[in-house]
């Protein structure tokens, strides 16, 4: 046992270098992460600022929870109501919009629920329920999942368990499952474009007004958690809204997918 503790101690000593204030932990949603946008932005930021960013991909719900325990320094999320609650409770500061896209309803090409002709998102969900066809839910308290639950609620429908599958995974995996099962799902358009080539699902319903999806960056309040690296968070936040980064966001995806995946907030 002594040896065990001893070895662990050595390990820790070897890694004291990990304990520096040059590291920023960013929790973000899988819908951003799976597109590969951060793989482009973060190296540029690291080069310019000298900070090292650890990006943790999770759902918005989980990201907010981690942030309200002070486990992360900054979050990039997309669920307005929970974000406001987070700020009001004093956990977060300096909430800024970074970019947006919109949610879409995707499904099999033959569209047996006739979602294509729906008049609004609620109508589309009603059609899916009526057609008794599979719907894959994220089921992970992510921003997309919360939006989806809200749509079911607004439609006044409790989804039939037989046709309602909770995947409990990120956006990309959920799309893959929907693709394999020929099912419908709610997806952010960016992840859909990033995966479009590998799946046969189609966008069946779009509504830029009602299904708008805004991503905000929020710094974790350093007054609440002394361990938080707020300097790094601030620098990262400022970089994300800078003209340089906004331009990268605008151009991201054109080369690889033939279209922009996100619309920068400051055009």
């Amino acid at each position: 046992m002594l040896k065990f503790i001893f070895s662990l101690l050595i390990l820790f000593l070897l890694n004291i270098y990990a304990k520096d204030f040059n590291t920023i932990i960013l929790a973000t949603t899988t819908s951003v992460y799976d597109t590969g946008l951060l793989d482009v932005i973060i190296p540029i930021f690291e080069e310019k600022s000298g900070f090292k960013v650890k990006t943790i991909a999770t759902g918005t719900g989980q990201a907010l929870k981690m942030a309200s325990r002070g486990e992360v320094d900054i979050i990039l999320v997309h669920e307005p109501q929970q974000e406001e609650k987070f700020i009001n409770e004093g956990y977060g500061i300096n909430r800024k919009p970074i970019m947006y896209n919109n949610f879409v309803i995707v499904g099999p090409e033959n569209d047996i629920a006739d979602v294509k002709n729906a008049t609004n998102p609620i109508d589309a969900f009603k059609r899916i329920a009526k057609a008794k066809t599979f719907f894959i839910s994220r089921g992970d308290e992510s921003g997309t999942h919360i939006k989806e639950k809200k749509l079911w609620k607004d439609a006044g429908i409790t989804p039939d368990k037989e046709y309602y599958i909770e995947s409990g995974t990120g956006m990309a995996t959920t799309l893959q499952i929907a693709n394999q099962k020929n099912a419908y799902t709610l997806c952010d358009i960016s992840t859909f474009f990033a995966l479009e080539k590998t799946i046969s699902l189609k966008i069946l319903f779009q509504d830029e007004k009602n299904l708008l999806n805004i991503y905000h960056i929020i710094e974790v309040n350093p007054k609440r958690f002394s361990t938080v690296n707020n300097l790094g968070a601030r620098v990262l936040s400022d970089f994300l809204i800078s003209n340089e980064c906004q331009k990268i966001i605008k151009e991201f995806g054109i080369k690889k997918f033939g279209k922009s995946l996100f619309i920068p907030y400051n055009k």
Binding site: F4, S7, L11, N15, A18, K19, K54, I56
Partner: protein
């Protein structure tokens, strides 16, 4: 079927051209799992030795606990390590979460019971009379350890193989405590998971093939050492 062929083709391309990203991920995998296995051996084999030669009340309980640990789910270990290393956790001040060291810690804890349990069984199989004989010739406990290790070389190397296999194939804990960060904590198993979810099946297949190849080569080396006559 096409997908599998395409995957194989892409995999072979990536391996032949030594894709820098895959190389980095592979080296990290070997490094992390190698160090954890080594740590588990350094702690686990002496642990098994002392457990087998000493007698104390509750010895059977300890052995059965170690044996239970052999089948402990890696995700549970991952969760425990994550909670411990959280900033708000007991060891949070070390800032180790989402670092390769965190993966090493988790994998060491996963591999330790495997090494300890199997080596306890190996030591216990040795003829008691042999031990008495060696001790009566005046050997110390430490000397006895090295003599016995040579006696049970075969099962000990099998133990190391099992331990390393447990570490390199593990995915849940690495994902949780490492965070799957590119160029930092992304290992072969977590990268495979990510590429599958992104729909990059060729890449996922390539990574799987490399993982299999690496495991095979390392086990081959260990087996050659094991089968070599002294």
């Amino acid at each position: 079927m096409n997908l599998i062929y395409e995957g194989l083709e892409k995999a072979i391309n990536l391996i032949i051209n030594i894709d820098p990203e895959i190389l980095k991920i592979s080296i990290l995998s070997i490094k992390v799992s190698g160090i954890s296995t080594l740590l588990a051996i350094i702690i686990g084999i002496p642990f098994g030795y002392f457990l087998s030669i000493s007698n104390f009340p509750g010895k059977k309980l300890v052995i059965s606990l170690i044996n239970t640990g052999m089948s402990f789910p890696p995700v549970v270990i991952g969760l425990l390590v994550t909670i411990t290393l959280w900033r708000s956790g007991p060891l949070g001040f070390l800032n180790l979460l989402y670092t390769p060291s965190a993966i090493i810690i988790a994998q060491t804890i996963i591999v330790f019971p495997i090494v300890a349990g199997l080596s306890t069984a190996s030591f216990q199989q040795i003829d008691k009379n042999l031990i008495l004989q060696i001790l009566s010739l005046g050997a110390s406990k430490i000397q006895l350890f090295w003599i016995l290790i040579r006696e049970i070389k075969l099962p000990i190397i099998a133990t190391i193989i099992a331990g390393f296999g447990g570490a390199i194939s593990e995915v849940g804990a690495s994902m949780m405590v490492g965070g799957n960060i590119l160029n930092y904590t992304r290992v072969l198993t977590t990268a495979t998971l990510l590429e599958t979810s992104k729909g990059n099946f060729e890449m996922a297949i390539a990574l799987s093939i490399i993982l299999l190849l690496l495991t095979f080569i390392i086990n081959l080396i260990l087996t050659l050492i094991q089968q070599k006559k002294i």
